[in-house]
Symmetry: D2
Subunit: 373 residues, 4 copies
């Protein structure tokens, strides 16, 4: 086991409520319990590529003063970067030919030049995969902390950021009920979720949606329209449909528009716009769509996410202190544990429609997913 | 002065936080203080056109039980309608020719058949204009209550709904700061305001925007880009731009896209999308845009709007009780008064750039409006 | 297995955000999936004692319309009662002697007279114990749904209501930071938790408290004062202390006041007032205390609690449908399961200081619990 | 007119949401428009008494970076002090006698030593009175900015902080409705307001209170109990009573407790506790009381208060730039103007029961104030 003295911390991927609580916990536990120095590395691996990185974004040795007052702040004080492969770099050779160089060795050299003994990498599935890659290539002392509002990381019950995003989306849906009900409208609201429908499923349940469309369950228009009709006939002339940004219709669904036009509509207006158009082809009601967008990412983290972030940060420090590298911290029930990074990045966590309790619960209380007969 | 016994109340135009507090105050003050019967007319004038109007939307004599628990609820328990001219109706004559008939006489007959002595009409500038029209055509006993999140009604300092909409937009902008700052991004956020920029101006000021674009001040791209550059050079590599849905560029602004493509972009992505594209032509930064949409209309009214709605409703009852018809209730400083409807509907209240205190204040603290040299 | 046709549902104990989502899910799943009739029993067992129970509180066959629009509402549409033993009743015999009669037989008779085949009882540890008692005395077809903001029920990771209460308390603590920091004050804030310190522990962690005092860890004043001093000396002249309503000092702690006066102070000002006084004896700083009180119980349930309540309700329906009585629904990780009622009511779930992960995490980031050397 | 180059800014009295927006606007407008240097003076006049004042609280020349990110933060980055007379100071003479010295000359000397040309003093009525005193004693270049959550300052329609406090109190009252209604309880909720009942009046109206008790209208218990009874008899067995911290009964009101015990009760449990006890003597219902306390002071300022604070700060800069000293900025309708300080501090703004529109509105919709026959 290495003797740890200096630990780097970085945040990668899309920002997410709860990043600052993790950073704060790492700094406080690292300094107080272990007497470490903690370096905040800026903009993910960018801060290990360009060491001149400077104000207002520059690598810093973090003190408790740096993390004072950040527990309730969204975003990340370390900045972040979305680069999917930080080690590929476009270079121009002396003879003028351009090629993609691998700069991992430079990153490793910089990491060593900074005197870092270990790295805590906070990020989504991309960041966890890069961390695993680093380990395989010799930068072994890494612990991962899973972050994503999408909740699509395996091996952990929840990632922080998800609870906050669901809360924001739910409050938005609450508002839409008022306006939909006053105007007897159908409102289609699109929430985030690149590949997984977790935000749509949870916010749809919490927000009292009448239909929830997720990428894992391709939809047909008929069951959705039937639901809207049933509601209208039973005296509820409005409906709320929550749709994941990646939701898509089943193959072969007919429309007065061709596939190409519908595709354009999806690009322009998102999944919500496409669906709203399709519904309008089938039923004579006022239909509106709205895309919640980036407000789901920001804002003060919920109490749940502040606690989860704090626990994850403190656990990461413990794993580093025990030399238990190559692990990702994870929530299991009420416990926070370490799981092998390799296992966590093996595949995304998606909704398994036939086995997911929440989907069954939703169906049993009358929510439609669009695959009904 | 007519002896008043039965009073109708209706809500028209887009829904708006604060409608229910008005209805509640009218019912409580009308019944308790004057012993009136108050009829809730459904879906604006629709409820006076089709008297069979029924559950869950149907004209009802409202008791205090009907308005219990609605003070903190968005939307309107009476339903609403957006029809710009409720008295024009498409009819088919016996010989098959189709024409537009005027059904005002039928509305007046129904109003009298219901035994109503007066009408309290809650709505925006459209509804106030219709109210004025009714008066001129002989349905004289009307008092108006101004409602619009856009705040574009003259003769009143504020309409209810505006404060709530600004608060919702401000909280959304707060969230966007977190994500913009973490990613060094420019975020363009579009808020409501059909013709007037009041929501953008207020939410921009409250949300700490760096540029605010309103329909009353056509913008050029250069000052906006200069602002973004200045911020980046002084160590703030992110910017927040608040744009009103109706904001538009000055004539003759150049783009790599033709006017037609930019027009399409505005239709598809709104004012925010168009602007985001233009900025991306000028500066190499990550740019995102988001459209807040209908969440600005719904939700529990703010304390300010609940109080204003309650005061407006109670004042409307007082005006009716005094036979002071043809008036609209209005906020002037800390007082609620009655003003002539005719005066209120004469023109919209727009921002007058050179004379508006808030615009000057915003300029003086460094906010850009896009018309700077 | 009994053939189920009519199912009663009741809510007992202190109200709690999430009760309405449970009721809604039971009604919707019971009617839609099983075609049951669902009777809403008012004010817990009171509705089975007095069958004339009537408006606005009266037993009703619940339709979907009854549970429409209640998902986001705090409290319970069924009313509740805090009676610890609903079956003991004071009666006066013909000869004038007063005695306590057992009225369980009457309750059972009424239950049967209503034609109920099963009962879903939603409540805290008291309600679960009464449910267990009913089963033992022959009213066997009962399923329990655990509810308490205190989170002190065994066999379930969390009860609904807890997440909402922690969120409300956390937001209140956020506010207190502003005022404490501006005035260089110590603020002691008291949160709910009759026997267990879960709310204090979670809200303290999420709210960035500097000390957290819970009933499971009797405190001494010295470590708390030392923490306040350390903070002041390191340039943070303010501190936030979160104290559970049931927190108490270790035996033998000295004060200038006698034990009797301190006891009076606890009664009058709560745990927060008593502690604030003790701190003021030791350190010359402005100290304020505040008791959050009932605002922790009410308000719209968080998304988390709406989902948990919905899942619990739907699971209770499933258990009833399978004749799986004598169970309580429970959250285990991401699953909702049934556990034996007898096991759940065996003992309260309290913080076990030496084995609780959250306590260790809190200590490791520098939070004081008052038992430090 | 003096040529202004260096301007001091300080915040005094209780903290209040909106202070930071004022500071931000002063710094941004002062630097950008006028090229001034702005000194942040710490802890009100304390920063002019002790010039060694230092980190984390120390006078600083404020840059735009200092005020970046504070628009949405409660409290004040300058610290504050509650001292009612900052110029009185306890000194011990060489011969050992202790006396109160006047240190105004020292303050003036320090002010001049810092090279300040003017001072912007943000505070409540106490601070405005001290500012007026300074002017009379020769420190003439002062502009005042009115701040108080209590809204009891004359000459301005509203002070900032008030809107935020009312919103917080209203949301708390919303929560209490849920729990009061579920348990058929009377809940007495105490809000702030040292001498004036504005918070109680506004939050009571916005929160749907059934009775509102303010210091300006001494109450009798009979009308309050009658209101509770009427509600119960009409099927609403719960009531919410909002009471200002300074509300008090009319002389001669009877109680089973003596005046001395009731006084003790007021001291111990506040106005809410005293009232709850009195109600419990008259009616057999569950009664709870809760004191909202300091959460009303803190938290992110509402959009309204951010805008008002920003406008006030920018206007103060304008007044200083024009040499228009001895003024306080004030809101009049939708305009921000300067009014003579002397006039503003002449008397507090209290509710005038017989002439206040809001009181009349509240009475007309059935809210009781406790002075009814």
């Amino acid at each position: 086991m290495t003797s740890i003295k200096k630990v780097g911390i970085m945040t990668g991927g899309g920002d997410c409520p709860g990043l600052n609580p993790v950073i704060r916990a790492v700094v406080r536990a690292g300094i107080r319990k272990h007497g470490w120095e903690i370096m905040g590395i800026e903009d993910a691996f960018q801060g290990l590529i360009d060491l001149d990185y400077c104000s207002p974004h520059g690598n810093r040795w973090l003190t408790e003063a740096h993390v004072s007052g950040i527990l309730d702040r969204g975003g990340t004080i370390l900045g972040t970067s979305n680069r999917s492969d930080p080690f590929k770099f476009a270079v121009t050779d002396p003879d003028g030919t351009r090629r993609e160089a691998d700069i991992f060795d430079q990153v490793l050299a910089n990491y060593e030049a900074l005197g870092l003994d270990a790295l805590i990498s906070i990020g989504g599935d991309g960041s966890m995969r890069i961390a695993q890659q680093c380990i395989e290539r010799g930068m072994t002392n890494i612990v991962g902390v899973p972050k994503t509002i999408d909740n699509d990381l395996r091996c952990t019950d929840y990632t922080f950021g998800f609870n906050s995003a669901v809360q924001v989306a739910t409050e938005a849906i609450d508002r839409l009920h008022d306006t939909a009900c006053s105007h007897d409208r159908v409102i289609v609201v699109e929430v985030m979720g690149r590949d997984a429908g977790w935000i749509a499923l949870h916010a749809g349940l919490a927000g009292g949606a009448h239909a929830i469309l997720v990428p894992e369950i391709p939809y047909r228009i008929a069951p959705i329209v039937r639901k809207i009709r049933e509601r209208r006939e039973s005296g509820n002339p409005y409906s709320i449909i929550v749709v994941s940004e990646a939701a898509r219709p089943q193959d072969g669904e007919q429309s007065t528009l061709g596939e190409r036009e519908l595709g354009a509509m999806q690009r322009f207006f998102g999944a919500a716009g496409r669906l709203a158009h399709r519904i309008s082809e089938e039923i004579d009601l006022q239909i509106r769509h709205t895309v919640l967008g980036h407000i789901q990412r920001g804002g003060s983290p919920s109490a749940f996410d502040r606690i989860l972030g704090t626990r994850f940060g403190e656990k990461a420090v413990e794993l580093v202190s025990r030399g238990d590298f190559g692990k990702m911290v994870a929530l299991r029930g009420t416990s926070v544990v370490g799981v092998p990074l390799a296992e966590a990045v093996d595949a995304q966590k998606l909704i398994v429609p036939d086995h997911d309790d929440l989907v069954q619960t939703a169906r049993n209380i009358g929510i439609v997913f669009g695959d009904e007969d």
